[in-house]
Symmetry: C2
Subunit: 273 residues, 2 copies
Amino acid sequence: MPYPEWLQAPKKVDLSKISTRGEKDPNGKKISREKAEAKHAENIAALEELQFKLSAESKHKILIVFQAMDTAGKDGAIRKVFGPLNPQGVRVHSFKKPTEKELSHDYLWRVHQHTPETGHIQIFNRSHYEDVLVVRVHNLVPEEQWKKRYEHIRNFEKLLADEGTMIMKFMLHISPEEQKERLEKRLQDPERVWKFRKGDLDERKLWAKYQEAYEVAIEETHKDHAPWYIIPADKKWYRNYVLSTIMREHLERLDLKWPLAEEGLDEVVVEDL
Amino acid sequence: MPYPEWLQAPKKVDLSKISTRGEKDPNGKKISREKAEAKHAENIAALEELQFKLSAESKHKILIVFQAMDTAGKDGAIRKVFGPLNPQGVRVHSFKKPTEKELSHDYLWRVHQHTPETGHIQIFNRSHYEDVLVVRVHNLVPEEQWKKRYEHIRNFEKLLADEGTMIMKFMLHISPEEQKERLEKRLQDPERVWKFRKGDLDERKLWAKYQEAYEVAIEETHKDHAPWYIIPADKKWYRNYVLSTIMREHLERLDLKWPLAEEGLDEVVVEDL
């Protein structure tokens, strides 16, 4: 399956050299907020129809992975791009700290249970990538163990793709300055302050280590059948526009078809009761 | 928990005497389409905020059951009322013909697995009620077996409610004339004709038997903690307006609160990196 290359991760990833603002269209031209919002609305309308077909045809499975630093907007992105779709065909699973039971299995065990069924879009809010991100940064398992995981993940995603799952992986890319602003805003908003954990600041101090872990994870697992997109996410309107554009392009490439009608419907008459 | 009584099932249910058109507001006054649509949009905006709180507070669980005759609009209702909400907090499960594995358990086994977790809204598109509807109409199990199920279902829903689940059950009520129109429309629409099954017409002929099965099921299981609402569904705009109004009223009664912020946040400073 050939994928469009717009915003796909390069072979060698240096996040510090990739814009967190974007503001360009797929042709590299600057795009205004107004135009991007109009395009996003168009994309959403198209996605509603595409999803209806995806579900009716019941042939493909879609897996979307969201990974990002804290405050980068995973929740907002999910709401703005997938909220308008039919909830019947969209599932979101948020991977939290593994439970005792989950830890007693290999780390892909719980992930496999939430992979999409035919006709569905499954969204991972965080994912198995945490097992080479937070786990690596904090050495939650020894290096010789997490080092092997890139290969496991490649093999796992190959299995999914070979068996009919279209995979897209989105890293929402923000700058540390933008994160600072968002954390400060959170502290000041009485309706959002409950989200703030002092521990978030300790994680923030590990910014460079996390960026490095992301770079390695992306390089190690970026494949044609499971591409990584690095989404400039400092501007929410740009992030949404980019995500809906990429989603739409992918679903259009599936060339979805309405299922065939049963035969002999021409003669059918619906009678009064 | 006291529930508003608007459109709740009466003690003795005679569906033939209950309007399939509605077109009235909770005070019994006629409502125009325009006004109902405006009110529905308002309800949706309120529901978005309520759901955010529901999810943040993570205290209550919500279970919504949709049951209806074919073409009555379960899918459309789910899309129009729950589509705009954050997909992260809404799950839809469609109960289809049970699998071999599911049949090897009691009929509530598969249902229990999909009951909502805290902070979530779980929607059942069809439900355990099929086990006293289609099963009864077609005698898929002997009468002495399905007769006992009303009690099982009462006990099951009591358990869920006692353990913190708010339950609402919606029967979308259409007339046989409206169903005829919708089936004919489906036959003529090239994008929807694949949905048509000749077998649907055999089911349609059992209309009276199904209505009776609904009446008994509703009477047997309508409880304060698990009320049935009979939603006039011939007009889609009215159906949507009613559903969002009832949903909103229920969520408002929960008196949802933002979680408390961590202590000592006043002194927190987010530092530059």
